[in-house]
Structures are given as structure tokens and as C-alpha cells.
Symmetry: D3
Subunit: 260 residues, 6 copies
Amino acid sequence: MESVFIGELTWQQYQARIAAGNAVVLLPVGALEQHGHHLPMNVDVLLPTAVCERVAQRTGALVAPAVHYGYKSQQKSGGGNHYPGTTSLDGVTVIRTVQDIIRELARHGVRRLAILNGHFENSMFVVEGIDLALRELHYAGVEGFRVMTLSYWDFAEDPEVIKKLYPDGFQGWNVEHGGVFETSLMLALYPHLVDMEQMEHHPPATFPPYDLFPVVPERTPRPGTLSSARGASRAKGELILEVCVNGIARALRDEFGAQH
Amino acid sequence: MESVFIGELTWQQYQARIAAGNAVVLLPVGALEQHGHHLPMNVDVLLPTAVCERVAQRTGALVAPAVHYGYKSQQKSGGGNHYPGTTSLDGVTVIRTVQDIIRELARHGVRRLAILNGHFENSMFVVEGIDLALRELHYAGVEGFRVMTLSYWDFAEDPEVIKKLYPDGFQGWNVEHGGVFETSLMLALYPHLVDMEQMEHHPPATFPPYDLFPVVPERTPRPGTLSSARGASRAKGELILEVCVNGIARALRDEFGAQH
Amino acid sequence: MESVFIGELTWQQYQARIAAGNAVVLLPVGALEQHGHHLPMNVDVLLPTAVCERVAQRTGALVAPAVHYGYKSQQKSGGGNHYPGTTSLDGVTVIRTVQDIIRELARHGVRRLAILNGHFENSMFVVEGIDLALRELHYAGVEGFRVMTLSYWDFAEDPEVIKKLYPDGFQGWNVEHGGVFETSLMLALYPHLVDMEQMEHHPPATFPPYDLFPVVPERTPRPGTLSSARGASRAKGELILEVCVNGIARALRDEFGAQH
Amino acid sequence: MESVFIGELTWQQYQARIAAGNAVVLLPVGALEQHGHHLPMNVDVLLPTAVCERVAQRTGALVAPAVHYGYKSQQKSGGGNHYPGTTSLDGVTVIRTVQDIIRELARHGVRRLAILNGHFENSMFVVEGIDLALRELHYAGVEGFRVMTLSYWDFAEDPEVIKKLYPDGFQGWNVEHGGVFETSLMLALYPHLVDMEQMEHHPPATFPPYDLFPVVPERTPRPGTLSSARGASRAKGELILEVCVNGIARALRDEFGAQH
Amino acid sequence: MESVFIGELTWQQYQARIAAGNAVVLLPVGALEQHGHHLPMNVDVLLPTAVCERVAQRTGALVAPAVHYGYKSQQKSGGGNHYPGTTSLDGVTVIRTVQDIIRELARHGVRRLAILNGHFENSMFVVEGIDLALRELHYAGVEGFRVMTLSYWDFAEDPEVIKKLYPDGFQGWNVEHGGVFETSLMLALYPHLVDMEQMEHHPPATFPPYDLFPVVPERTPRPGTLSSARGASRAKGELILEVCVNGIARALRDEFGAQH
Amino acid sequence: MESVFIGELTWQQYQARIAAGNAVVLLPVGALEQHGHHLPMNVDVLLPTAVCERVAQRTGALVAPAVHYGYKSQQKSGGGNHYPGTTSLDGVTVIRTVQDIIRELARHGVRRLAILNGHFENSMFVVEGIDLALRELHYAGVEGFRVMTLSYWDFAEDPEVIKKLYPDGFQGWNVEHGGVFETSLMLALYPHLVDMEQMEHHPPATFPPYDLFPVVPERTPRPGTLSSARGASRAKGELILEVCVNGIARALRDEFGAQH
């Protein structure tokens, strides 16, 4: 059976899939960013790619190569861009990367794209890349190209799921950087890349109602995570995966309809 | 007594204020964006400017001319950029505007800037403008320039305040576009620009856990607001103003210290 | 009666005005720039905005929010960009701001725009913004968008007017920075922002037939003005206003025809 | 004897000239632009290059290769950019070209540059290129780089010269596009490229006190010139050349001092 | 033992490696590009990444996440950018991506980078990204950052190796797109992604001594390869790998010295 | 007889040529770059311009003004960008210059352009300029614009010609910087600009199979040439010229057909 990854197809295989009509392409967008003492720095690429793979298997969509570098880590969502290892792009580079990829997909005949973002900070630059690309497509007389953007974690918002993941209470997505959510997913998907021995427990990060630039590094919990991964488990990861893959597959069907 | 608005000072008055040391400049950043049937389109400029003015009066800070155009309205936070009247800038234009203003303030000798954002969609582009400006200042050998960014509504998060504003329950900031919060502030500050007769009541907007581009216009409540302004009042506006001005003044003191 | 300022309208009011056909939008473009010891730094925004307001009242046009920051002050026209307080944008930022605003107005259905420039240095960057916007509109299949650009002072060139303003002889527009012309207008419109006590008399600036970069600061008259405001008066300001408003209203009628 | 043109030197010859200290480089900046029925389209390159050559011979300066393409022709100064043959650059291309050349000259050790502009519309984009380059040089720790910009015609403003050139009265530089001034210079320098038989006499162009975009082509006199070249002569061209070369040589000496 | 892939390290592991001094980072730069009927479209990412991995294992270098999208395929080197599936970036996007990554690596303390290019068309844009990054680092006062760029195939130029690979004669690197070289490497490294059954034999592509835009698609051999992969073998792939890894490891040692 | 140089035509002459149909424009693209001790720095402009002139005389094509500055000299093709005198543009400046010129030619009605590159390093930036311009023309609804790019030396690849030029064996184009090829052409075309007395003989440059940034200057042969010009002669230059002009004229006929 053919791979769901575009990169693993020949151009003829890809062409056949697009020509069959109504093809949906999934684009994972991530970052190279510190995720504390116990997680590797490619979490934001690995996780949306894994979700994309499963969604594609279920729906017949195709997965484009992930964007491996993302926008600058912000203190309140990713600890800040001052950590060694975190390797970020300027905003305009993210914008143009997204814009260029869409322009090319449209040339291939694709008209349905879902961008799965694994790194919160990318969001608005992805939006701008889409807007500029759609503007260009309009100039080119290409209408009907539709893009869905999503952060996979937004599909785990069901209160029952939240309760299972956080039996002692949910702190909010704001502090979910290297915490129970991402760590559980990594345990389910890439356990050899997680070192729970190194995981450092700490209370959830708290921040004032403003941001400072340059950041005051001491305001990020020392390991770089914003909440503790204590309580993460492989089972929780599998639950998240199931919920997110189901939800995203449904969203694609609702918005983009069936594929051939 | 001298104006707090830089634009109303002569260059000598301004120079004297900067030379006195530790001057703080406040920059309101807004948008021209639809705010429903009952509010004018400059709400996102008027409100942060008014907050800046009051903070400046209390703290001795100076207020730079507002940035009157902002980034594209998003459906889940501002109704979407398809409305007539909403007049938005590309991301890179917002980025460069902020970057240029900071470069110039630094040339004047300013080292403390607080950017008060009145339009949610600006946030990440403002962040990028700051980052690029600080990078440039570093090249120029200017160190020690510090920037605070804030959205004034984040200073009204005290549960007691929220309870007074939303006695029937708070729907979250997500749907606060042209709702009780902004309308109350406008009633307190610019009542002649509010037409409560035209206000259209509707349940809070609900959206799926993803975004679509182009937006599906029908998913925005028809008037363009994301929640109803029913329940807005001048008294609530005055409460918000007091709470926000107090909080921001305190934040400036905490982070930037006393001015001379 | 509805405001002439777009920012003070709801989107529905604005939409109705555009839909009525042949709507003309006026865009004041200014700067934050030193204007000597006796004038505030927002002169280049206040004056074109005031002219726009009056033209709009007479013609039924609408006034968009002013662009409050402009291109770098040049020594021979604005004293130079080395003064504290003068806060200028890079050329490309001005270009893109104008381009973005036109693109959005076109989306709203506007086809007639007049840009009233209050800051000489903006001129060519405004022109480029217009050219790029019209190019884009052509790509988008939008034809028939027409833009007028003007500097309001060019409407006061009638020799009889000049004679009344400068009974001792006119030095030319080149040295009109903070001189009789702008000061008279400010006295007529915003007298509380003028401090004639601080006005420093000096002979008109003279410059060699070339420019130097970096500027030699001493070549600008010390107060920053290029000619003396001695002789400015409220009456002259009113005369200028009348002449300019009349002339611009006529130009709009001649070029853009009647509005509905 | 060595050429004054940098392009005709070996790198060693060039290096020796720079190393001798205080070298001045002259950069002609022009355009490919229609100049009526009797003049070729490279007038704006040929004339400043010829002036540069003579100034260099007199002062020991060096002449860099001309920038052969310039900013878009404007109706009131060059007839408009709608003519066939007129081949113009976007503003940012002009800006970056100037910026790049200055960066490289600075690397070579040059610290004195005079930019001779032959095409009015280039002016502000050249200014911006210089400003961005000086900003960069400051980042690089290179101080003391000085740039003079000039339009050679500004050195012919002596009333006695004007009287000789325009015995029947001077219409102003505004309409000097393909008129007596440029045609006389071409007759003195490149008579084989002038075809006075084709020259079409017409009254000076008159324009309203505003600009329209797109231009109304009929408002430019049909041949594309803004005033008539009747009255142009080789002798006048030689007078202009002498006056301009003298004036520019003196300006270089005044501002940049003697070369070694 | 720790991974050689930066993405699989925690920030602390990475930091320790950089702090040990003289760390070398390897950056694979590829493309998503058709490679004929028998190879997948991610060849240009897979191959340099695999070479990097082996070089890193031998030398102690670290491998950054690959850049997965590259510059537009050219007809004479990659068949042309008109194929479905080929998904390319604009030049400036490639430039900025490289520039941003270098800026960040420098912030981490890295001073030695080798960029392994797997897609010929990237070359000059990578060069420009490096040049702009080094310019910026100079502004920031960071000196001593050194970058090596290489295409791994240039290390297989030993005539004896060439003879083993191409016993019937070498056609030159120009036509090595999806031919014996890349196919052999894929057979050695990722045999499951190669389908030799689909491989279409054809004579080497021949082109005129110029390029045309838009390309004439028929001038590319139908499968998209520029020479036939007949003759490719796993053994050849292993030979290439050994030769390239040896050569690159030696080059790193020669230029960057020993690592700690 | 009319000049083949567009710059020496009036706009009417140019218009008539374009209107006649099927006009071909030739654009020489060069650089200001060191070429050793015996050649001037404008070789890369002079040579393609001379080739263009002869091709135009033979085919009826027109020659646009050359682009006089080019992309940064690379060590292996031009000695490196560290030499004094070499004056290079950033990549994006080259890209935009080409893009702007094409946009304007298309406006004039031109549909056939051949870009003759005299400076190897320009190649990919010219390609990108063309691609962006064709994309824009597509937006503007202009189809059928075709561009040929070529380096004139690629037309001298006939083994018999190579044998006559290099009787002792050809080292490859890689080291042809200021060597027999360019020097012979200069001797045939501009002998007064060649100083064979200063020519420094040296063995061909050899480089490792990678590039380093910043370059190691000592790896370029001291004079800056990459191979010796010993053996250059006027006769060889005339042979090259004949072969290249013939070949290019034939290519234009083959691809663009006859002109009227």
C-alpha cells in the first residue's frame, strides 16, 4: 500500500491521487524548540506529523513534508527564545514558506489543505501566509482553494477527556509546554525519546498580565517546561491521539467532504 | 500643564522629558475594524489611547500617536476581514511600523516603551516588530531598551471584577468583540459614538476547533459582534477603566521603576 | 448627522455610503515631526486632517483615519531627521501602508481616493504605494480605481493669496516648515497648541544646491523651522483654509464628479 | 593617463587610488525614459555621466558605472510612465541598488561619495538607499562615510546663466523635460543622438495642483516633452556644462576637501 | 549513546555539546522534487541527511533538522518546476531560512557549520543566506563563524570511483538527476522506497546551450530523470556513501579541526 | 541607420520596432568585478554588450541598457568578493532588477527577451527574477512572454573551437576568469583596456570540493584571475566572437522565429 507521505511517493503516484479529485493535503508545521529536561527538541514536529499520518490513514489524505523550523518561542507559551537549541525563524520567513507551499500545491491541482500546527507561536504567521497565498491565487484566477488551520490540542477539549488527562484539575493550555499533554503523546509515540528520569517537577508557571522584551529568563521555570509532566502516561497519550485523530478526521469530512 | 501626548509637545518639551531620565513612552496600537451595529470602527484605537492617556497622567509617561491601522481581523476574535469598513494591513507592514517607531524612540534616548494593544490580531506582529527592533539596536550598540506589551483587558481578570461585569457568567475573552466589555468602556468614554438602539442581541458566537480560509461569513453573528452588548453600562466602563489604569500603572512601576 | 470620519461610523453606515455610489474617500497622510519651538509635533497630521474634514463636509466625502507617522524629515524641507521627537518610518513602510489601505478600500467597493499629504517627504513613497496598489488591483481584475494625491498648500498658489499671506514677499514653499503658513493654520484651528512666545524669529534658511548625509545639523536654523512664523495670524489661517478647501473640493468635483 | 572610470581600471589601480586617501567616488544615477521625439531615451544616463567625467578630470575623483534604470517617470516631471520605452524600477529596487553600492564602496575603503542624479524621480529613493546604507555602516562600526547628492541642473541656477539660457523667460525646472536645457547639453555632448528635425514645438505643459493615478495621458504634451526645445543650442549646452562642472567641483572641494 | 540529531536531544544535552567547544553542526538542505518514475520525491532530503548522519557518527558533529523544501527545479538539473509534486520555494524564502538558522546557531554558541546540499538549485540561495547571516553576525560583534558548503556528490569525483560507477563512461553531473548515482544511494539506504520496475530507461538528456522560460516540457525526458538509472546497484550506493562520508569527514577535520 | 541600442532610440522609433511584431530584446547583465592585473573591472559588462550588439546587427534585435552591477563574486568562479573594486549587489536586488525590467518590457508589448549574462554568479538570481516576472505577467493576463537566458561562452563549446583556443588542453570553464577566453575577447574588442605587460602568469586555480565562508583569500591566485591569460590573442577573440554571435543568432531564430 502506498505511503501517506507525499515525499515517499513518485510524482506519478502523487499526480494520480490529486487527479482522482478532492484530494486533501495535510501540512504539519512545527519548530525546533526546547521542551524541558526530559523531551527532545523536535516534539513540535513529531507530534503533528504523527497526528497527520494517522488522520491520513483514516481519511485518504496525503501528508506533505513538515516545516521543521518555526517562529520564535515566546516565554508564556514556549519558555522563551533565549534557550540554547531553540532555533527559530523570523516571522516573514514563516509567512513566505507557507505562502510558497500553497502556491505550489495549487499548481498541482490541490484545492484542500489542512495545516496542523504543533507550535503555538506559528499561528498568526501561518494565517498571514495563507492570506497572501489566497490573494495570489485570486490574481492567478484560481478560486476555490480552501485551507483549514488547526492546533491538534484543540480537539482534546472535551471536558471528559480533560478530566481523564488532568484528574487534579486542568491548568489551561497556556502552560502546556512539555507538560502532561505533550509528554503523554511522546510516551505513546516515541517512548525512546522521553527520559522521565530527567523530568523536573515544578508548579505551573505564572506570569504577569503583560510580556517583557527582552524576556526576564528567570520567569520561566528552570527546566523550560511551563508545567510538570508528572502524571503523563502512555495511556493518556493514546487517548489524546485517538480523540484528536477522530476529531480532525471528522472536521475534514465536515468541511472538505469525502475524498475519492 | 503639558500634554501627555507627544504629538502635542514641541520637540524641546519632549527632549526635556526624555533627558530627565527614565521616561516611559506608551504606544497605543489599534485597528480600523467593524464592531457591530452599535459601535464605531475606531474602537480599537480609541480605547487603548484613552487608557494610555490616563496611565500617563498618573505615572508621568508620554503617549505616542496611535497606530491607527492593524492586522487583518480574524473570524474568531474580530468577526473576520470580509466586512466592509474593516481596513487592515499586511503582517509585514505592522511589523515594520513597530520596528521603525522603536528605532526612532531609541535615537531620541528613550529606553522604556509600553505598547498597549487594542486589537488582538496585532499581537504577534507587534512581537516580531519588537524583536527585529531590539536586534537592530543591539547591532547599533544600544543596550538596555526594554519593551512591555499588553492588552489592557488582561488587567481586568480579577474574578471579582469579572463577576461584576458578567453577573450571569463570563463567556471568555474570545467572544469579547463588541460585547459588554468594549461597549461599557465606550459608554464611559465616548457615549456619543455608541448607539445602543442599533445594538443587536445574540447568543455568544460558537466556532469549531479550527479555522477556515476563506472564512465562511455566515459563521460570524450577523451584526459582526461575537457576543451581545446587552448588559453594558457606563458604570461598568468606569470600573474597567479604573481597574486597567491601576493595573497598568502598577506594572509600569514594577518593571520600569519610578520616573523623574 | 453622521460623522465624516470613517472611524466614527459603524460598518453598516459606511457600507451604505459606499453602496450609494461614487463615494470619495480622503486619506490624510502626515508625520510626527518637530516644527520649531512654538508648534507641536503633530502639525503634519492635524492640518491635512482638518482640511479633509472641511472638504468632506462640503462634498460628502468620507475621511479615513490619518497615517500618523511619515517618511524621514529632510533637512531642506523639514529640518532633518536628527531632531528628538521626529519619529519617522522607512520608505518601504510608508509604501506598504498606502498600498494596504488602497487594497482594502477597493475591497469595500471604493473607487475614488484622494490622499492629502501634510508632510512633503512622504510624496514619492505615497506615489509608489499607489502604483503598487493599482498594479495589484489590475491583477485582481479591479479596474477603474482612481487616486488623486495632493499637498494642500499647492492650492494656495493664487498670487493674490500669496500676496496677502506674505506682504513682504514670498520665500517659496521650500522654506515653509513651521513658518507663516503652517503657524497661521494652527492659530486658526488649534490655537491652544501654538505658543507664539516661544516662536524664534530667524531669516529664511539657505542651503547649498546639494544635500549631505549625514546632515550637518548646524545648517538648519536652530529652532528647527526653515522660516520665521512672525507674521502668522489666525486670519491668515482662515484665508488659507478657505482657499484650500474650496480648491480641493473643486478638484474632486472636476475629476471624480458628483457624489450621490 | 588612467581613466576616471572605475570600470576601466584594474583592481590594483583602483586600490591605489583609494589607498592614497580621501578618494571621492561619483555615481551617476539615471533612467531609461522617453525624452520626446528628438532625443534618445538614455539622456538621463548620458548627461550625469558626462558631467561626472568632467568633474572627475578636474578634481581627481573616480566615476563608478552609472545606474542605468531609475524610478518610474511621473507625469509632471517626465511625462508619465505610460510611454513605450520608458523602463522603470520599483522604488525598493532603486533603494537597494544604492544601498548595496554604498556598502561595497565602504568595504573598499571609500569614505566620500557624490551621487549625481540625472532623473528627478529617483531623488527620494536615492535618499532612502543612502539612509539605509549609513545605518548599516553604523552597525558595522564604519563611521565617517559621507554622501553628497545633487541634481546637476541645480548648479545652473545663477540668474545670469538662466537669462542666457532662457532669454524669453524661464518656465521653471518643473517643465524641463526634453526642453532647452537637456537638448542643449545633448547638442554639446552627443549631437549625433539629437534629431532637431523631429523636435516638436509646443507651449510648456500646465498641470492642475494635484496628481492623478492612473495618469490621464492626454495631459502630457503629445511628444512627451514638457516644454519646447526650440532655442536649444550647442553653445548653451557648453555654457551649462561649464557652469555645472565648475559648481560641482567647488562643492566637492568645499565639503570633501582636497584629494591626494 | 546520544543521537547525532539535534532534534532528538534535550536542550541541556545540546548545550553541553556546544559548550564542550568546537562543535560542528551539519545542516542538510534538500527539496521536494520529482525524481522520475522509480524514486520518491524526498530523495534530495533523504540523501544528504543520511550522509550527515554518518559523517556525524564519525566526527562527533551534530545534525540539524533538514530544510525539506528548496528552490525551484530547473530543467537542465532537475527536469523543471512544472511537474506535479515538485514543491519549491521562492529564492528569498530559501535565503532567509538559511540566514535565520545561522543567526540562531550563532546565538547558541556554534561557530562551525557545514551545509550539505542535496538539491543543486539551492546552491546560490544558500550562498546568499550565508553571506547575509555573516554580515549580520559582524554587526552583532560575532566574529569567527565559519561555514562550509558542499554538495556531497562532489566528493565522489575520484576518477577510480567514477570508473566503478560508470564503467561505460560518465555523462557528467549535469544529467545526474534520478540516475545511477542517486538511485544507487537510495538502493543502499532506502531500498523500500525504490521501485526499479518502474524505472524507465532513456538516453541522457541533451539540451541546447541556453535556457528557456517557461520551459518547453517536452525537452525533459518523459519520466523526469535526466539519465537512466540502469546500472544502479546497492553496492555502488555503498561505495558512494563510503567515499563521500570519508571525504566530508576529512574536509571537516582539515578546515574546522578536531572536536572535543 | 538606426542604432540597435534602445537607449539611443526615441520612444517613437522604439515603439515602431515593437509594433512591427515579434521584436526580440537582448539584455546584457554583467558586474563590476576584478579581472586580474591586466584587465579592467567592467569586462563582464563590455563583453556581453558587444556580443549583443553584433547579434542585434545580424538579427534585427534591440539591445537594452546593460545591468552594470551583479551578484557577489564567488571564489571558485570570480576570485571572491573580498577584492577592492568588486562592487556587488545582494541577491534580491539582482532578482528585482530583472523582474522590473521584464514587467516594463511586457508593458511596451515586447514578448521575446534574451538575457545575455556575462557574470556567472548572476545566473540563478536572473532565473528567479524571470520566474517572478512571468508569475506577475500571468496575474496581469499577459501570456506568451518568453525569455531565453544564456552565457555567451556556452556557445564556444564546439571541440574544434576549444582546441584552437586551448591547444595545450582546456582546463574547463570553471577557471575561465580573466584567462585566455575573456582576455582574447578584450584584445579583439577593447585592446586599449588590456595591459598584457601586467598580466601575471600562474597555474590554473585548484580548489577543494567545497566552499568556505568567509573565503580564505590566499586560495585565489594572487592576481585574482583563475587561470593564466598567456596564450590570449586578438585572433582568438575574433574567433570566439564569430562563433558566439553565430550561435546565439541561430538560437534566437530557432526559438523566437523571424523578426519583421
